[in-house]
Amino acid sequence: MGITITRTDSRFETLKMGHNLRFPASDEDAADQIILCSSAEDTADALRKVIAAGIRPTVRSGGHCYEGFVSSNPHGAIIDLSLHNTVERDEKSGAYCIAPGAVLGDVYLSLYKRYNLTLPAGSCFRVGAGGHISGGGYGVLSRLYGLTSDWLTAVDILTVDADGTVVPRRVDAGHDPDLFRACRGAGGGNFGIITRFHFEQLPAAPREVATITLFFPWENLTEERFSSLLMTFGDYWEGRGRDPDTWGMFSLLEVAPQSSEHLTLYTQFCQHDGTASDLGVLNEFLDRFAPFQPMLMPPRSAPVAAQRSATDTRHASSHKNFAPGARLTPWLEAAVGGGGSGGSARAKYKSAYMKRTFTRAETDVFYRFFTSNDRSAQGSVVSIDSYGGAVNRPDLVPATAVAQRSSVMKLQWQCYWSEAADDARHLRAMDTFYTSLYTGSHVDPDHQGTPWGDRYEGCYMNYADIDMLRYSYWPGLFYGREGLYPFLQKVKRRYDPNNIFHSSMSVRESYD
């Protein structure tokens, strides 16, 4: 039996919210109840009750939905799965089973300590498995091992049939294969409630990784050099980064405002054998950034001597092709040692997949925004993640619900602030910034303002962004142009005929 938290409960004000404090936008928008479930049975009971009462259920695992798809649920019920969080091996099937409420950090710890395995998933450790895996899921090991949902072999899911009956299903390639495919990346809150993810196999956890963080002081970055830096990063992933020997390398270039004093490049590397015994690939990558005089410490705390140089042999010197400034770290420490996913704040996020490196026109847009005095720019960052590698397997397109299999970078826009009164200003600024990047002759006239066309591959469903709804072709941005969305609409009609599970960006019955 789940625990029902109503408005009179002292926990309600805390539990009504997720990570993004913009939601619920008002007391009226909040759900009337939160039902905390510790098992699949609890979840089924809770779902039966809310269906019988005509209440809209939304589903929460870690609470990191970027939009208000879960927390904004007027008169509704949040079915909270955070207490349903086991990570275990099914004795019968031998599959590794992850409950949706498990947070990624605990998943890594359990899989590593019990089985010496891991999951190629996100680096934010408080993110819940439920939403993350449903939307595809990717992270630091994805270039090496693929997307999280690529490894899924079965899912336990509760659907609601036309009569309103809650139907528990185990779906896989042989049972309800259409629903199984949809559960491999279409995003949470569409078809039912997943109560367990099954993985017949998982990749071995790397033994060690080499990590390095470089800082590029803004004071060294003219517009020209800024542009060159971004292009250097993009060129690598468009070119050399496609080679399999680089797939063990993940890099994140964080572009932050001038007031933050620097841009940050975080890189992690291991070889296919899970070691970091030969850092030649890493070194080659890092050498490309030498002209930009990166530093190993943030500018304020770093003396000039801390610049990365060939004479620095403090770390990794016993390894072949050691990379100056890099640290060799046990993989587990690199995976879970860094902490969580930041504190809660009011926030807005956007995303884009890139199939090519940056153009000068694009880098100029970034430069103008981040060197402006705009208040929104001061609270913003764009994370440019390396992508591709094992993700870009065309054979997985028809087997999963992730269409983007050609990109080399994935961008995440983030803007954070604290006051509700500033919501409109920041939302507008982010929208303008993002739209301007995709406006011009590089995008065809019918898709201006969106990452559409030969250079781009749309947006990531786990970085939900309701601004994109204003484009009639928004499903094409998130699900590609090759028929995935019509397929998902069929799945929706079949398994959720009443549209019980819905949000403003859920799969719709018709292509509106």
Binding site: E28, G54, R56, H75, I466, H502, D512
Partner: protein, 394 residues
């Protein structure tokens, strides 16, 4: 999601007093009071103001105000308004609520209810509020207002849900006070097979609304919470199944609230139901029909039922049935063939009937003593007329 409000003098000046002054009148006594009028026959020479909604392939939707006198109509104002599928007037304010049967509002899947202020002198139409429905409550097809004007119940056909909206003292609807998502396996003849609330009517005295779900093929009795003390009291209090594959699609409720008539379009029929004192529904009769019924309405003062059916694309039939209210027995008494497309709505207007038909607004003369329809003519060329309501009789 809160209503978008539309003001004449700017939001900072909006008060109940300025609102009423904006109407150009000090009071509201000129409005037809629908449940206070009693069983009094009206005189056909009155000047009447009607609101008519229409949409066609060429016209995304329009709300018209029409002045009617002596069976002649003059269209005096119009307001573009997407897919106006159902109209209801406030019992005291000069406001008409329109179910705008859209799939999307502000790019989100939800329908909309519009509140339109009607100037009684000029007939001009001004939007005063646009209230989005709950997420996924798409294609609202019918709406009803409580006799005290405090609650609107909306049947969202596409989204399979009812929304209960609070209405403030000056007639502005607020965000849903209750959202009742429906489930139910629909008829084999309908795709998709799920709930499609199609029509809703308020009981004249009790806090109930009766609704028909053409997808789930049932009648729903909704208990509607009034007042502000609770926003969650509204619920579906009871349900009763209609015959499978009958496709119930329309409702009429006798003015005393004791007798309900449903029309069925898949297996054409007319079914009657008695409503008990505590709201229980019990079936009385089902009368098979030889054509697909398209609209039904009780005469507001006589024990008479009017039923429209489609004969062909250019011909409809209007039947008059006498009703024995205590028993629920119906007997057909007269019929009239009318050269018009499908009739979507019937309204008694001062001893006449007005019909919203595909080909226009049709006026039907009634014999004064018996309420038998005797003749018809096109009163206004409003193509795609699909709903209407009477605003003012003066």
């Amino acid at each position: 999601m809160r209503a978008e409000r539309y003001f004449f003098e700017g939001p900072e000046n909006f008060t109940r007093r300025s609102f009423l002054l904006g109407l150009g009148c000090a009071g509201t006594s000129w409005l037809l009071a629908p449940f206070a009028a009693g069983r009094v026959k009206h005189i056909a020479t009155k000047e009447i103001l009607l609101c008519v909604g229409s949409f066609t392939r060429e016209d995304a939707g329009t709300l018209h105000s029409v002045r009617m006198q002596g069976g002649r109509c003059e269209r005096i104002s119009s307001l573009p308004l997407p897919r106006p599928l159902s109209l209801v007037r406030h019992p005291r304010q000069p406001i008409v609520y329109v179910a705008s049967g859209v799939h999307l509002h502000a790019h989100e899947p939800r329908g909309v209810v519009e509140a339109i202020l009607v100037d009684p002198k000029t007939g001009s139409l001004n939007r005063v509020a646009r209230q989005p429905l709950s997420l996924s409550a798409t294609e609202p097809r019918s709406l009803a207002i409580s006799p005290n004007g405090e609650r609107l119940v909306v049947a969202a056909f596409g989204g399979g849900a009812y929304n209960v909206l609070p209405v403030d003292a000056v007639g502005i609807p607020g965000p849903p006070a209750a959202i009742l998502k429906q489930v139910g396996r629909g008829s084999a003849s309908l795709e998709p097979k799920r709930s499609h609330p199609a029509a809703v009517l308020f009981h004249p005295r009790e806090p109930w609304a009766v609704a028909v779900d053409s997808g789930a093929e049932r009648l729903d009795l909704l208990h509607v919470q009034h007042g502000t003390e609770s926003t969650t009291g509204s619920r579906v209090a009871s349900r009763i199944s209609c015959p499978e594959d009958s496709g119930p699609c329309g409702l009429a409720l006798h003015s005393d609230g004791s007798l309900l008539v449903a029309i069925h379009r898949l297996r054409p029929a007319l079914s009657t139901w008695q409503i008990g004192s505590s709201g229980q529904l019990s079936a009385v009769t089902e009368t098979p029909f030889d054509r697909t019924p398209t609209a039904v309405a009780f005469h507001p003062y006589d024990d008479v039922l009017y039923l429209a059916s489609r004969v062909s694309s250019q011909l409809s039939r209007l039947e008059m049935w006498r009703v024995q209210v205590p028993t629920g027995v119906l007997s057909r008494e007269a019929e009239l063939s009318i050269r018009c497309g499908g009739i979507a709505a019937i309204e008694e207007v001062s001893s006449r009937l007005c019909l919203a038909a595909e080909t226009g607004l049709i006026a039907v003369d009634l014999e004064t003593a018996t309420a038998v329809p005797t003749g018809s003519h096109t009163a206004a060329d409003i193509a795609g007329a699909c709903c209407l309501t009477v605003l003012i009789e003066s």
